[in-house]
Amino acid sequence: MTMMLALIPLLPLFAALFAGFFGRRVPRHWSHWVCCAAVGISFILSAVVLYKVVVLGFTEINVTLYTWLDLGSTKLTIGFLVDPLSALMMVVVTLVSFLVHVYTIGYMKDDPGYARFFSYIAFFTFSMLMLVMSDNFLQMFFGWEGVGLASYLLIGFWHTRPSATKAGMKAFLMNRVGDFGFIVGIGLLFATLGTLNFGEIFARVDELQGLNVSLWPGLEWSLLTVACIGLFVGAMGKSAQVPLHTWLPDSMEGPTPISALIHAATMVTAGIFMVARMSPVFEGSDTALSLMIIVGATTAISMAVLGLVQNDIKRVVAYSTLSQLGYMTVALGASAYSAAIFHLMTHAFFKALLFLAAGSVIIALHHEQDLRKMGGLRKLMPITYVTSLIGAWALVGLPPFSGFFSKEPIIEAARFATVTGHTYAYWALTLGVFLTACYTFRMIFLAFHGAPRYGASSHGSHKASHKEHHEAPKESPKVVTIPLIVLAVCSVFAGILFITPMLFGDYFGTSIYGNYVAHDAMARLYANWQGVLHYLLHAFQTLPFWLALAGIATAWYFTLSAPTAADRLVKTLGAAYGVLKHHFYIDAFYERVIVRGTHSAASWFVRGGERFWSEGVLVQGTTRLVQWGAQSLRYLQTGYLYHYAFAMVLGLLVLMTWWGIKK
């Protein structure tokens, strides 16, 4: 068992090392074969593990590999904790990863950094698996940072583009801001409980109740709240919650498979996973839950609004990802951890699908990403179109697609939640459904419907040869379409199949802990639960369903029915549109205030601290002082004999006065 568990993350790691070190010396296809095989085997093993956990009833497998560090008071170990939660994550991660690997073969086939790319994504898979399988904070942090590194490298994969490297750096730094909170949270737990092991922390979490922590002597806060907020800040960074979200849209600079794998399906959900994993801790702090629900709702609504005005196909999907992450966060805040994880899973499928489909479109159009230059691809790329459509439906949450089953409980949970801000969250999420439908279908309509707008206007906008320009877009190869199909299947059926066990069964068992007395959202959901069919039918009576339809209609109106209406609307909105176009000026704020502030602070430190104080005053000042002393004392040495004699007599006089007359 240990061996098998260890193999799951290690296989991708070995593949990554192989591709990284030898990839450039062996034929290209070796890289993808090795990586795909490794990840594929990982997937199979993960499935076996899931099978064991779910069916054979190993509800919790806790394996220790080795002692990383023995601190005397505690041992920091490396090991795996496999329970339903992590088993599920493992399967999702390996599955999506495997599909993306396969897809990559087609997507990246002309790229010079082929092997490198495989190495990176295999490494990413390894890190992500370490993250989800860890049984302690240390290892989780390892995976956490590992995926961050992979993300950084992959966003900046086309390193000659300054925008790409900048986006990579931005992603890393924003994540680092999150890590700042994360590490403080971990530190607080460690300082109080003296351990980093999840099991031990959960067992002793009650000790934390009522403890206070002081920022400095005199200012006391609840320890649990501070720790939870710290951890959540980490999650905010990784899961791109407002205001630490700006890196995610920029991360679209990376190749599309990455956007699908890392920035939609897996890595960005690590924050959600972590909070769910830490549910026993978070349950102790209403303040933290409240913060989550508000932040999540804000993210959900604001990012959905921004999704409306994007013209880059990948950015639309990216903003939708942000918005959906907001939904998950709201679920966490509402203590509906299982709902969050469920949405995480379904979202992984349909969002990966959408990204990959977008990627498929992009290849077909020779790396054209602007929606305004697409259109009419429905006929030319039927598989892409159909799968996209499925993904869109799932995203919008139309029954019976998986998104419906995962999103609806979240909205309900927000309604039933007890913590402060849940009402705001409920309305934000509900409105979010409408907006989701709007931007999703705007994208679908612009890309696949209407008249083709590519070709003429895209003239000379990229470096592809002219010959390729005039070729009509055609359906992508099988390595691209097969993953799409698999994901589409998942997107359709994941919800309907798994909602019963995951949300209303005892699938998660003890791996997720909810205080169902104080935070009874899930309990109330459960109370209303009458089976899948009933749930489906009930959907037609709910507000979100109709809002979704309204959203689709609106999108149709503005894109296909009356394209000019959009422009008019933009004109009418004026300043408001400007705000949206500039992403609420958050980026500008970061750029102008934070980054520039940092740089000016840095240069001020250099000028004031280093050059003036350290160098100028301490070093040069001392030197000058001594030199001034030297010059003035030198001046006394006049060269005249009588002055010399005078000095001697004076010296004698001083000695005489001091020691003689004192008596």
């Binding site: 990383w68 560090l69 000659t160 990579g168 750096m169 680092r176 890590d179 607080l188 460690f190 002081s214």
Partner: protein, 486 residues
């Protein structure tokens, strides 16, 4: 155990250094290079032997040697290592070996000689058990370093090396006064005896000040750091590495300051923590504004040393262990980064960030390794940099949330300047005409950096063996510090 292993370790490089100096002009310098390499390897193997034979379960001094040296003052040639020393001896051996092995044909014999002598003296400082012996090793290092920087350094070398010399001398002379005082009280220069010497708090505070001057300069800590960036930046790579990686200043805190004046350290801990935090943040920002690769590395190292001293003064087991591990790690990382900078400079002729850019295209090996080292510098888990940093931050949070928050800013600030550096150097468009024409790392450089990378990785993935060696001594140090000497 009749072989004086430590003496061998100390004097072998020194004598070899002198020999190298003697034969430096013979046969185009080939014998001198050969000799230097042989000596470095020999010292390395001796150090490995020491590491292997070291009993990690004991906090006692091992490999002891004692000979009366200056009977008039009761100064003994007394050597011995415990868990703290052994780590740094190992690191010094590795660094020396790499630095010497990194020298290509054409490097000057006198340079190699100075490096070897410095290395030998460093071993001495790490294994001295007599205060004066320690002081002499500590100070004698100044001479070869001074000369090496002055002769082989960059454009501002004369200014930098003078400043370096005077600063260090200035600080350490205060320590000398403290040693004299302690001698006056105890009639011995034995460090071991001083550890148990009762001292009034008033005296302890004064002694603390004196020791602090010496080690804060050497470490370096704000505000006594002004020599360091210049010296690191102007020194030739090998010397800069020897200077920045050996961590003798921080070691002084562990060996002398903390055990001798623990009560004063307790009393002044808030101030020291303040200074350390200031260093972490201030130097982080300063590093952000650097345009010179070596200076950036230098400031980064100093900022990390802030974290190390923070670990010392939290009086927490976790933090102290973290600090020790961070010292080792930072030594390795700084060495690696300086090596990278050197490789770049050799090809581009400049350390300026604006002259680099886009090297990943021409030098994928260097780019890969540089990114790895950058990640180690940031403290990415899995690399050595993480271990210490993480533990110190954990300790800091436990000490006081505010301290923890400030300490944790290193996570962001450190990443900011490191990534900025990586972005300027590794990625981005090629800004300099010669970048496209350069060749990737040669076999020697590749091997060298790979070894460092492997060590860092191994250390990051499994730090326990390393900590295990020092654990008993650190525990003992903590227990000792907890006892009042009043």
């Amino acid at each position: 155990m009749n072989v004086p292993v430590l003496s061998l370790l100390i004097w072998l490089p020194i004598i070899a250094g002198v020999a190298v100096l003697a034969v430096r002009n013979v046969d185009g310098g080939r014998p001198s290079r050969w000799l230097a390499n042989a000596a470095a390897w020999a010292a390395f193997f001796i150090a490995v032997y020491v590491l292997c034979r070291f009993q990690s379960t004991s906090a006692a001094m091992q490999f002891s040697e004692r000979v009366m040296w200056i009977p008039y003052f009761g100064i003994e040639y007394s050597l011995g290592i415990d868990g703290l020393s052994v780590l740094f001896i190992g690191m010094n051996a590795l660094i020396t070996l790499l630095v010497i092995a990194a020298q290509k044909a054409g490097s000057k014999g006198s340079y190699l000689s100075a490096l070897l002598i410095t290395s030998g003296l460093t071993y001495g400082a790490f294994s001295a058990r007599d205060a004066v012996l320690f002081y002499i090793f500590f100070e004698a290092m100044l001479i070869p370093m001074y000369l090496v920087i002055g002769v082989f350094g960059g454009a501002q070398r004369k200014y930098a090396t003078t400043k370096f010399f005077l600063y260090t001398l200035f600080g350490s002379l205060f320590m000398l006064l403290a040693l004299f005082y302690l001698y006056g009280v105890s009639q011995t220069f034995s460090l071991q005896a001083w550890h148990h010497l009762p001292l009034s708090l008033y005296m302890q505070l004064i002694l603390f000040g004196a020791f602090f001057m010496a080690f804060a300069v050497k470490t370096p800590m704000w505000p006594l750091h002004a020599w360091a960036p210049d010296a690191y930046a102007e020194a030739p790579t090998g010397a800069a590495i020897m200077l920045a990686s050996t961590k003798i200043g921080a070691y002084g805190f562990l060996r002398l300051l903390l055990p001798i004046v623990p009560d004063a350290a307790q009393v002044l801990a808030p101030w020291m923590i303040g200074l350390s935090l200031l260093a972490v943040i201030y130097f982080g920002f300063v590093a952000l504004a650097q345009t010179d690769l070596k200076r950036l590395i230098a400031y980064s190292s100093i900022a990390h040393m802030g974290l190390v001293t923070l670990g010392f003064f939290l009086f927490d087991a976790v933090a102290l262990k973290g600090a020790v591990l961070l010292m080792v790690s930072n030594g390795l990382v700084v060495a690696a980064l300086f090596f990278c900078a050197d490789s770049l400079e050799k090809r581009l002729g400049s350390y300026r960030l604006t002259d680099c850019g886009g090297i990943v295209k021409a030098m994928p090996w260097l780019a890969t390794l540089l990114v790895f080292f950058a990640m180690a510098n940031i403290g990415l888990p899995g690399t050595s940099g993480f271990v210490g940093e993480f533990l110190v931050i954990l300790g800091a949070v436990g000490y006081q949330l505010g301290v923890g928050l400030l300490a944790a800013t290193v996570v962001v600030v450190g990443a900011a300047y490191t990534l900025w550096m990586v972005r300027r150097v590794v990625f981005g468009p090629v800004t300099h005409s010669s970048v496209s024409a350069i060749t990737d790392l040669g076999m020697r450089e590749r091997l060298l950096l790979s070894v460092l990378a492997a060590v860092m990785l191994g250390f990051g993935l499994w730090p326990q063996p390393l900590l295990g060696m020092a654990d008993a001594s650190i525990t003992q140090l903590l227990a000792h510090m907890a006892l009042s000497k009043l």
